[in-house]
Symmetry: C2
Subunit: 298 residues, 2 copies
Amino acid sequence: MGALVECVANFSEGRQQTVIDSIVGTIDSANGVIVLGAESDPDHNRAVVTFVGPPDRVSDAAYAGIQRAGELIDLERHRGQHPRIGAADVIPFVPLREVGMAETVALARKLGKRVGETLNLPVFLYEQAALQEGNRNLADIRRGGYERLKGRIAVGEPPIPDFGPGRLSSAGGCVIGARNLLIAFNVFLDSPDVAIARAIARAIRQSSGGLPHVKALGLFVKGRAQVSMNLTNYKMTSMRCVVAAIRIEARRLGVKMAASEIIGLLPQDALSEVDVAYLQIENFDQSRVLEHQLANLT
Amino acid sequence: MGALVECVANFSEGRQQTVIDSIVGTIDSANGVIVLGAESDPDHNRAVVTFVGPPDRVSDAAYAGIQRAGELIDLERHRGQHPRIGAADVIPFVPLREVGMAETVALARKLGKRVGETLNLPVFLYEQAALQEGNRNLADIRRGGYERLKGRIAVGEPPIPDFGPGRLSSAGGCVIGARNLLIAFNVFLDSPDVAIARAIARAIRQSSGGLPHVKALGLFVKGRAQVSMNLTNYKMTSMRCVVAAIRIEARRLGVKMAASEIIGLLPQDALSEVDVAYLQIENFDQSRVLEHQLANLT
């Protein structure tokens, strides 16, 4: 037992397996952390590595991963469906056990300072760890991606980094923060028309007046239109509710939901057995369940 | 303690308080039952009386209420927003405690036979108590109301009564059945345009491809457009989810949700304190909670 923090690190490489393996290997070989999962997607051109451990150990492992990603990934040549500003694009810490949000925020800010000062990357603190209101929302920092940020940072226009230089190398910027557990959940349509996925995303996401606690984007992934989501409070707006709303929108637009997938882990109480079928989750098994993974650790 | 059945009787009178009082009084004075609530709505022109008791006592009280309603309500002169075929329009029994669905079905069928033979009303057995598949769904029996039924029953066209005569008196027909607990839940829009309420109902109800376990109609009530719903499995499709979907549809159609109301009772676990605000329920207090009412009985 003891304090346990989760890090769900997002890196901008989902195609070259050797690069992905090198970053995951770097994290996995750090002292005192356990990698619970690593997934990559060639269309997103992105990898997500989930690891847990005592707060300081998780921070050190994240630092090593950020450094490695910066050495291996060149944003000048990066193309992909998913918005991104850097090689180590987003590094959120999540308090899991015997640790509070305040400590997790402190952990994120300390890592941000270290990355900014010693790796010389512009660091943006987001969500609960934000020091500037304009940087609280990831979508605001990441809008227009690396390309837009490069132009803006050069002339001192927002988003303004909290640490590090006011210019970008080809490793881009790094968003670091603390947040509560969320569910990353993607729904595929039976259509390649990304305009439909975007229309559905616009209808259901909170920011345009849709479902509370839902962030959504329309993307083109594996030859299909995808509604890519974060559910930031799955108790208030459940996966079932999101899927029901998407089905209604899809029908209106003449398409069907084809399948769904979970990225990373999800808490046990987010899902019943009945739900797995209703939600058409393609990639579900017990290893997706956070509690199942934690039970194997301790 | 002991076996407890609930009856949620729907009568086609929501305007003349003396008529409503007479029917409620008849039920209330029957032996061994307790009336938990009685509500009427002048726009629906309809009253709902919720009572509980041991199965046979509840059946006797329902019989007395059906008889009284048939004496006092004339369907030839009845006008209202809500679909209906009879004075005692729908009489569903719900197993609450120490009684199974099979027993509740038997109770409904026995009452149906008695009402058909001794009160001389055409009786349609529905939901779990249905003897004909075509009568299982209330909306199919009730489509076109008393007026359509009158023409059809005269020539032997469906819906075919399970008991009683093949003709209608001015008391109309009576739908009797057994079902699981449902939540009757209405959402008001900030518009009098009933076409919008109908469009929203069509978008969200299961029968037209919307939310699972949701039945919905668009009506005009108290000067406002209303989406009138039954949630037949509130654990699978929650009140929150329904409201979230209605808000999305409403926004698309340029209106807002103004408020909501519960008809009858609802189970404690259908609603959290946070929900009452999110759902904008105008008429919520603890007396709406079934468990609260049952705790006061025993």
